[in-house]
């Protein structure tokens, strides 16, 4: 149940899996995403309502084959350059995309968590999102005949979320903005949760979401695991890091260097410094 992050990722995430890292601005499991990059996992179908810097990094590192999402940007800053480069430039690999609205994605998780094949909503009607994917279809209400929209359930192989804390039995507690994480965990076959800390007893907190251990496959203690997003009650959002990501991610070489030093912990590959040393 309690495992180191590298072991948790190795056991739960496989090449070709459909993986959902969720967290709506708050509690984004960034460090788990980094570990997926370090382990060189490939051909993933990445699912996430709001792919931001963590998916930009995973896409740029070549982990993804497909992205299912509803809003892809660097919140408050601008675009995701690695995502854009993959979509427009096929770098480092072509990226298939399937896009939805937030309401559609949220309902797809709800259907997945509920054991239903699809969800019904008032949405998408008249937009060009319809027709870009077979996963948005009109449906008539069997009682009134009213025309509504259906989207199929999302049932990822693995959900990965970050939370404030867990107890030793693997019950997980999170609070603040809890987004769609409960639904994502309940919709998935396996769930990996990174937490700030493990405690003996989970003191109730107003507005908490509690994930019983029976729906959690593995818990890893990763303090700071949501940075540069934030963990309510532990640390605040690092807005400067989101800003800095814009410059790092614009350029393929600069991004590759960032991967090398920040993710793989290797020394800088810059010819500049090597040349200086030999001279």
């Amino acid at each position: 149940m309690l495992v180191p992050l590298d072991e948790g990722v190795r056991e739960l995430v496989r090449d070709g899996d459909t993986v959902a890292l969720e967290g709506f601005t708050h509690l984004i499991p960034v460090e788990a995403g980094h570990e997926i990059i370090r382990q060189g996992i490939r051909d993933l179908t990445l699912v996430r309502m709001t792919p931001d810097v963590v998916y930009d990094r995973m896409i740029g590192a070549g982990c993804a084959r497909k992205l299912v999402f509803s809003w892809g940007g660097n919140p408050g800053v601008g675009s995701l350059h690695r995502f854009r480069d993959a979509v427009a430039g096929g770098w480092p690999a072509p990226l298939e995309i399937e896009e939805h609205s937030h309401a559609g994605m949220a309902n797809r998780y709800v259907a997945g968590a509920s054991g239903l094949p699809f969800a019904v909503l008032r949405g998408y009607t008249g937009t060009d999102l319809v027709g870009r994917t077979p996963n948005v279809k009109a449906i008539s209400c069997p009682f009134t005949g009213e025309e509504l929209t259906a989207v199929p359930a999302l049932n990822p192989d693995v959900a990965i979320v970050h939370a404030q804390r867990a107890d030793r039995a693997g019950n997980v507690q999170m609070w603040g903005i809890t987004g769609v994480q409960k639904e994502a965990v309940l919709a998935s076959s396996r769930a990996l949760v990174t937490v700030e800390e493990v405690v003996d007893e989970l003191e109730p907190v107003p507005g908490q979401v509690l994930l019983p251990s029976r729906v959690v496959t593995a818990v890893s203690v990763v303090p700071g695991g949501a940075r540069p997003s934030y963990t309510h009650g532990y640390y605040v959002r690092d807005n400067d890091a989101y800003q800095a990501w814009d410059a790092i991610s614009r350029d393929r070489e600069r991004f590759a260097e960032w991967l090398r030093t920040e993710i793989h912990g290797l020394p800088p590959a810059r010819e500049g410094s090597a040349a200086k040393e030999s001279a």
Binding site: H26, E99, L121, G123, I177, N239
Partner: protein, 267 residues
């Protein structure tokens, strides 16, 4: 020249736009707020004429009263100051979908003469010139809020004859389209720009210039529009921001770090 300059208020065109947008919000109404200019306008309204404005951010914070402008829709302060925090499915299913929200505030990368909005892609979908963030909450905000207010800087690049991609439906291709599609809200009732205010013509549903900001000419607005912009017979001049509104706005933006960017639209 001199007279236009004399009429211009002592504020920037963005300030003019934000203040005008804030005035579109009624006290006591519920507003679905996107990050950027909509959030600035809503927070300004709450501090001036609409202290009872109920702000909902799509992260699930209902009735948030932040002291600084949030940088993302999920900032911690939104949760701390909210009446309650609900899950994302609950925001969309229980609050937006049944029509509980009076005003939806949206941005746009492109908007056309019928107020249809594109935040998805510029150019061809399969081989885009610019890949934008995408839909987010906008399609259902545009469909289900009682009315929609759009805030966008006016230029030929943004105000186009027809959008490259319809992310959110405005008035479709004209009268009766929203009804035919089963969209229950009124759609865009105002498009507020840095040059003026456009409203759908009651008969044709085409966006029509109904107000120009002080110091701006009709010609300037038409030149910044990618279609032959209709002008209302009773064109008004937008009332300039009063000193209190400007002071509150500047104090708000002054307390917000510079990473804040209104250009991202529907966030």
């Amino acid at each position: 020249m001199t007279s236009a300059a004399a009429e211009a208020p002592a504020c920037t065109s963005d300030e003019m736009m934000t203040v005008t947008a804030s005035r579109a919000l009624r006290d006591g109404s519920a507003c679905f707020v996107g990050i950027g200019l909509p959030s600035t306008a809503a927070n300004l309204a709450r501090r001036t004429h609409a202290p009872g404005l109920w702000m909902i951010y799509e992260s699930g914070t209902l009735g948030a009263t932040p002291s600084v402008l949030p940088l993302s829709i999920g900032d911690g302060e939104l949760a701390e100051t909210a009446d309650t925090v609900v899950s994302v499915p609950e925001v969309f299913n229980y609050w937006l979908q049944p029509g509980r929200i009076d005003t939806g505030f949206l941005g746009a990368a492109q908007i056309d003469r019928y107020g249809n909005i594109n935040t998805t892609v510029i150019g061809d979908y399969g081989a885009p010139k610019v890949r934008l963030p995408g839909a987010g909450g906008a399609p259902e905000i545009a469909a289900n809020c009682r009315e929609v207010v759009v805030i966008v800087r006016q230029s030929r690049r943004a105000f186009v004859e027809s959008v490259d991609f319809t992310t959110s439906v405005g008035h479709g291709s004209g009268p009766g389209d929203r009804e035919r599609l089963g969209l229950r809200g009124a759609g865009p009732t105002r498009v507020i720009t840095d040059l003026g205010v456009l409203e759908p013509d009651p008969r044709t549903r085409e966006l029509t210039l109904t107000s120009v900001h002080p110091g701006t000419t009709v010609q300037q607005v038409r030149e910044a529009t990618g279609w032959d912009l209709a002008v209302s017979a009773d064109l008004r001049t937008t009332p300039a921001p009063d000193p209190h509104e400007l002071a509150v706005l500047r104090s708000l933006t002054g307390r917000t770090p510079p990473t804040h960017d209104g250009r991202q639209g529907t966030r």
